[in-house]
């Protein structure tokens, strides 16, 4: 098996296992209330972390580059209650413009 296919198979199998672990092992059992509250708060915690890492993360380093301008534009668009497509196009447009100018 080539290196590429080895990676595709291993990463695929690992991801299937990680996604399915709790649904297969826990079954339909409900979580106790405190854990259910924590589970409900996972979305904001993880999404906020993804925003940070993908805006200023560059491998194991922080980097301020055109992505920051793009995400700032998205934040402004969100505050103005713009539709999601406008938010996304604004982020890409501003990041591309800053990228071209620097």
């Amino acid at each position: 098996m080539s290196t590429t296919w080895l990676i595709v198979v291993l990463v695929g199998a690992a991801t299937v296992a990680l996604k399915g672990l709790a649904p297969v092992l826990l079954g339909e059992r409900e979580l106790p209330p405190p854990l259910a509250r924590v589970s409900g708060a996972l979305a904001p915690a993880l999404l906020a972390a993804l925003v940070v890492v993908q805006t200023v993360g560059d491998g194991q380093a922080l980097s301020v580059d055109p992505r920051v301008a793009g995400v700032a534009a998205a934040a402004v668009a969100l505050l103005l209650r713009a539709p999601l497509l406008v938010v996304l196009v604004a982020s890409a447009g501003v990041a591309a413009t800053v990228n071209a100018l620097t």
Partner: protein, 230 residues
């Protein structure tokens, strides 16, 4: 769009079609990011078929990007797999929140859990729980968009140029910011988001990629505190 801003509103359509419809703008982003992945994977020497198979089976954008980046930089198989697995560790937590909403036998639960991505999971949030129908509807649309984008990027290859030229690299965090904006309904959620963001920011320069996001899940522990009486 009202769904994005008020995920807990009574008007949330709790059907597969509702999930599919509400995820449409996100699917556009998934398509574009899929193109970026296809280009990156092709440049990394993965060929055309392997990236497409990976999008269909792994179906997790950031982990696929990370694996392709390691390959592109000439890293070892173990390094590529480790980077992807670390990034996907958060799916254990996502799986815990999805589990009570799935029904039926283990094989079916395993199959349905594969449709959970950051985006379909965010779209399926319904009053602090996951709505199974919305998760499946949104997940299927995203799978088609993500794979279609990958095909375009892998076939078109570097003729399309560097994704950063088009600002595609900013679209990913912008999408997560929009998803986050729909999740900040109560003080507990805002506290969890702030804590998660701080953990990720502090750990990024010192921990291997993937770990900061996994550690940020600890921000949700702030919800252990009981709700304050209104």
């Amino acid at each position: 769009m009202s769904i994005m801003m008020e995920p807990n509103a009574i008007s949330v359509d709790r059907t597969m079609l509702g999930g599919a419809r509400d995820v449409a703008p996100i699917a556009f982003a998934a398509l574009v990011i899929g193109v970026s992945f296809g280009i990156l994977a092709r440049d990394a020497g993965m060929g055309v078929v392997a990236p497409i198979v990976m999008s269909l089976t792994t179906f997790a954008g950031s982990a696929q990007m990370a694996a392709a980046t390691v390959m592109h930089d000439g890293g070892a198989v173990a390094a590529a797999v480790a980077a992807a697995v670390l990034l996907n560790l958060r799916y254990v937590a996502i799986g815990v929140s999805v589990a009570p909403s799935l029904r039926g036998r283990r094989a079916r639960r395993l199959a349905e859990s594969q449709l959970a991505t950051d985006e379909s999971w965010a779209i399926s949030q319904d009053r602090g729980r996951v709505n199974r129908e919305r998760l499946i509807g949104a997940g299927l649309v995203l799978l088609v968009a993500w794979t279609t984008g990958t095909v375009a990027g892998a076939v078109g290859g570097s003729a399309l140029g560097d994704p950063a030229t088009y600002g595609f690299d900013a679209m990913f965090p912008a999408l997560f910011l929009a998803l986050l904006a729909g999740q900040l309904g109560d003080g507990r959620a805002r506290a969890a988001a702030l804590t998660g963001a701080l953990i990720a920011l502090v750990l990024t320069p010192v921990a291997p990629p993937g770990i900061p996001i996994v550690a940020a899940a600890a921000g949700a522990l702030i919800a252990l505190r009981p709700e304050r009486p209104a």
